[in-house]
Symmetry: C2
Subunit: 318 residues, 2 copies
């Protein structure tokens, strides 16, 4: 019998790639999204597929749905730093009440549940790379608290239902991911630098650019998410990300080179509580899922920048 997966945030950046991947595996897919930050054009390519169904719904409301569901992938949440200041309420309640509603749905349908958490659970980490056993360094009352604490709450909630209510749940912590369909105004490093480079505008580095990030290409991530759902890892928390670390400044230079941009790199003050380093320890993902990233940074950036170029109708430099 065909597997049916429900993906919340299904028309978002990562969610839409996951929907395509699951359809490619022969599954029925129900994408749920309130279109707050997700976009219908992200799922334009699968809208004609008769194994695909889109439901516009805000998971802060309970979701009634007929028929069987085998897997609930809970990816719904704004995740862009630019939204932390204008959409704090939505972020907090989507990850608390929304996650609660999706756990209830999973229990009702006897479905497996996957909570998409984040490396932001580690906050501004004091150790690197971060293993899943690290408790994190998060300011609960800081300007990023709305996202970090919302995600930590969603983890605690998932674990409570795993421990006391029989939920077959698992948690992944997604590190920086990039690829086609990122929002241009996302506020994160890849779209920021790419948009600036393509427009020939100054590329803005915060602080001295010595803070590091590690970037995972979206196809690698989506394969890891699938494995985390399909392996018997009930109650486990698993990092998914690319451990290849690079400073933000190196990143700016790489994107400048790939785009062939003449943009100047400029420096601006570091925002409050901006993490200085973030790098996954993926030993657990390797051990439990047999997973590690396969797409190199140059290849991934080429694909991503090409997508930005096309979607913006930017000409290639001569």
């Amino acid at each position: 019998m065909t597997v049916t997966s429900l993906v919340t945030g299904g028309s978002g950046f990562i969610g839409s790639h996951l929907c395509e991947y699951l359809l490619g595996k022969g599954e029925n897919v129900i994408a749920v999204d309130n279109l707050g930050s997700g976009r219908l054009e992200n799922i334009g390519g699968v809208m004609g597929n008769d194994r695909f169904r889109f439901i516009r719904h805000d998971i802060r409301e309970p979701l009634q749905i007929d028929g069987k569901i085998d897997f609930v992938y809970n990816l719904a949440s704004r995740a862009s730093p630019v939204d932390f200041f204008t959409q704090a309420e939505e972020i907090l309640m989507t990850n608390s009440l929304g996650t609660y509603n999706m756990i209830q749905l999973a229990l009702e349908k006897k479905a497996r549940f996957l909570e998409a958490s984040t490396s932001e659970s580690y906050g501004d980490p004091t150790i690197s790379p971060q293993p899943e056993t690290y408790w994190g360094n998060v300011n609960p009352i800081g300007p990023r608290g709305c996202y970090d604490e919302a995600k930590r709450f969603s983890e605690a909630l998932t674990m409570a239902f795993v421990r006391y209510h029989g939920l077959d749940g698992r948690i992944i912590r997604i590190f920086n991911t990039y690829g086609p369909r990122m929002r241009p105004d996302d506020g994160r490093v890849v779209p920021n630098f790419t948009m600036q480079a393509l427009a020939g505008e100054p590329m803005t580095v915060y602080g001295e650019g010595s803070q590091t990030r590690s970037f995972c290409y979206v196809s690698d991530l989506v394969r890891g998410i699938y494995l985390a759902m399909n392996r018997d890892v009930r109650g486990e928390v698993i990092n998914l990300g690319n451990p290849t670390e690079m400073t933000v400044l190196e990143f700016a230079k790489k994107i400048k080179a790939i785009t062939g941009s003449s943009s100047e790199i400029v420096f601006r003050p570091l925002p409050e509580n901006d993490p200085m380093q973030r790098r996954p320890d993926i030993g657990k993902a390797k051990r439990l899922l047999g997973w590690e990233p396969e797409v190199g940074l140059d290849e991934g950036l080429q694909l991503t920048i090409e997508w930005f170029r096309q979607s913006l109708n930017c000409p290639k430099p001569a």
Copy 2:
């Protein structure tokens, strides 16, 4: 015009003392409680007061209420470690959805809002004493995560509404508090040791008893809560507790002495993630509220043990 205060968790240990204190200040008081861990006998003494009103209500549901409200004190939440394992869902949703509903009520009524958070926000702290600027050391997926993360979430939620929705909110972090009306089965040090000592049963110390606690008598705490609401400390987070530190073993010996018990002190393995030390830095409370504890430990323990003795009908030792 008489001030009207609404106290959620109003029939709980701390909430009921707060209601009495506010009535003593001449206020109208509305106590809201779902009677999950609160008890009607805690408010038996004020039930005849015509400025007092009790509403049985679970704040996970929105609260409609007629008339003006000036202050919303949000104290509702189970807080006993014994409940972390059986009532995790209620704890998580009361502090997220419940806090959200009470913030909505405060906004609707243009009322000041006070969120009662906890020293558990600091988790197992790596510095002592803990100032409000310390980010804490909490395991989001551990067995205590349901409480610690729920409270950190409530702080982040309150701050989001202060920052972006005009809420006149403040947060207090309550450290260990003791006094009459603690639940005998509360699971915390004072009632545990007192019950065991009064019954002549072995007094159970976890680990070697070298972990420290600092205990604030409930009347001191309630005065601090009142000041935090009535001073202009919008957006502030303030520790309320007694910085006098003592090891758990010393505590057992003191209670054994005050009760005149012949109980033996026995040692049991330390539970997972039990904090090793917890001591408030109350410099901010002194500075902003002019507050510090006044009731000494011997005096407070005498009052508390006497209350336990009477409520249990235990005879005094000869």
